[in-house]
Symmetry: C2
Subunit: 451 residues, 2 copies
Amino acid sequence: MESRRSFLRKSAFGATALGIYPLGQLQAAAPQTERLRVGLIGLGLRGTNHLRNLLLRDDVQVTALCDTDPARLELAAQALKEAGQAKAATFGAHEYSYRDLLAMEAVDAVVISTPWLWHTPMAVDAMKAGKYAGLEVSAATTLAECWDLVNTHEATGTHMMLLENVNYRRDIMAVLRMVREGVFGELVHFRCGYQHDLREVKFNNGKQPYGGGAEFGEKGISEARWRTLHSLKRNADVYPTHGLGPIAVMADINRGNRLVSLTSSASKAIGLHNHIVAQGGEDHPNAALKFKQGDVITTTLTTARGETIIVTHDCNLPRPYSLGFRVQGAKGLWEVDGSRIYVEGKSQPHRWDPAASWLEAYDHPLWQRYGEYATGAGHGGMDFFVMHAFVESAKRGIAPPIDAYDAAAWSAVTPLSEQSIAAGGEPQHVPDFTRGRWIGRTPYDWLKDTF
Amino acid sequence: MESRRSFLRKSAFGATALGIYPLGQLQAAAPQTERLRVGLIGLGLRGTNHLRNLLLRDDVQVTALCDTDPARLELAAQALKEAGQAKAATFGAHEYSYRDLLAMEAVDAVVISTPWLWHTPMAVDAMKAGKYAGLEVSAATTLAECWDLVNTHEATGTHMMLLENVNYRRDIMAVLRMVREGVFGELVHFRCGYQHDLREVKFNNGKQPYGGGAEFGEKGISEARWRTLHSLKRNADVYPTHGLGPIAVMADINRGNRLVSLTSSASKAIGLHNHIVAQGGEDHPNAALKFKQGDVITTTLTTARGETIIVTHDCNLPRPYSLGFRVQGAKGLWEVDGSRIYVEGKSQPHRWDPAASWLEAYDHPLWQRYGEYATGAGHGGMDFFVMHAFVESAKRGIAPPIDAYDAAAWSAVTPLSEQSIAAGGEPQHVPDFTRGRWIGRTPYDWLKDTF
């Protein structure tokens, strides 16, 4: 397998293939930008990854960078230089310096990759400033924030896209195609979640981003600096969108269907305490902390069309990674665990098919087109596609495939799961963030081969 | 692999190895029976299977048979004759003829394998008659019935055993051993369920037990005659014990732990209607029926020790069989889907081990002892073990491994899931059928190598 850069060199892909539709041929109604001028807010590991992918595109100019950590800012400026791009404006003197970035005329769109508590405020400010906003997951941490995103989008007419990369995973897109082509029949039930041992993300030694110690917050670095506090203080599914995002698209949530209610239950919380003791001993100050977040949180959602969706959050225990997808309909089902598919009348009765041949046969047009290139972009290629969709939507000034209503509905699982758990599993209504318009909104055409 | 009968012939196993502990050497405190005299109530496919397994034992004499279908009764009598056993008394003139069987002095124990609605009444009558009762799953269909089992056991001092065969599955018993030996650490989360495409069980052509038509009730035969009505009338997990039974034992339910509450959600119900139309056409009278039971029902239980248990009922859609087990603790987990195990410090970091080598290393003593013999007994051997435990417990007159409290707690999921679903997912308290004694009851020693 040749490396991504060598592929780029050989095919001169950066200069032509990425700008699939030369701008002159575009049919989009909205105003277009010759070259999308992007500002990045947040240049940690995630933001820097987005930066590197953007720098490979000839339809993007990175005009502004913002981070409160001068070292990260310097690293990003260096990346621009290496890519032969013009120097970008830089911001980061204080926490609200991003507003100076948003005030720049030479910024059309922003990519926000900051700690969760900044996501909604920054996306709201971006839309108010008329900047097409790309927002990392999860979008919002309270119901009020969910509404902030929707209300600001509606008040300003400016778009935001939730940058949920798992929606672009190759198997997910193949299964989405199978769903759209009716392979599984009428849909009935879904499973998904975020099952990822994050103990070495939540704790480090203050020197390396992953592991090596029992520190977090002030004494930790990278994600441990802020993410771990959510586990300490909130008994909630704080990270629902990697699982729910792909399922919501398959289920036409906000587009002919909607999330109606949920119940949520949390197991005991022992994983993070055990990890602190294992890393730092019984006497480590963090060993005295009582973490609120249950190790396994299970949320059951119901939809207007009568499907159920189980969403799992399982990040504090030793376990291999799995998003635990299941997509089940009247004619068959896909399960990611065991990588298997059953389709009535096609599979041998009562026997699983290996998923691989099905996923290959239904490979998504976008992956057929860009797969080889995308694979180097991070997270197995998903990161290329999500950024591609963002850039192409922003260039055209059109609604993105994952919009403010999606961001709000998916992220609402965090506060609602918290409420349900606190109330012993009481069902919670999921607000209709579309204000009733879900009945007439039509699904985004995820099967087109552009973005 | 040699057949079961040839194994029996070669090793004369029937005459010696099955009566492991010659009666004279038994240390049990309770009164013992030289040869357990068993009556069978219900001789459908399930009861007949139990009969055939009992006839292979030299410590059992089948003294009475009961079924309201003369053909089934005749078939059973024939099986006795072929086994060279003395003729048994037969009953079945009417629905309550089983009470005449219970009145026989020459019956020590009964095996009840009848339609669900007869389970509790018959087990209650059996205990009142002083007969050690073996009851097929599920035990009870309402909360009152759950209490009936417990109250009758306590009032009479007579035992009942729930004949949950999955508790004796080879992988389950190996994982139980791993749990008991601490391999997974402190337990946190479980998954299980009954995911079995029963459409051809629920509908047949009135001539064959499985499939071939869209008939049930009066026009169906075998299970379709009675089981399908539960899907038509009740939106509930009507069959929870195959999944919950094994998990409840691992979690020490009623023995140091208990089920505290549950929430339940049902998907839409389309599978059975679709099946009727596929089998009998749009104009078939059954195509007009509205089935209440959601195709996928998900129940989340909480326990006194802070674990959560997800129980799934998924029987109306095309899908391969899986009981969907997961057993997850502070040190690792087993998942039956994908057949994989992860144990921190033993497995490669973030990588699954194939379950097989673990399951082999922790093979249960009972399976090591009887595995080769058991495999022919039905359902991959489980049926031998569950009947073995029943017979050995009844012979000794001691409490069985799965008792009236277990039967009540596990079966309570049916009415409680129904209540929760009807109330939009409202949490339901699970009654403490032990009346507080769960705090002091010690787990049954499932790891001993006798039964």
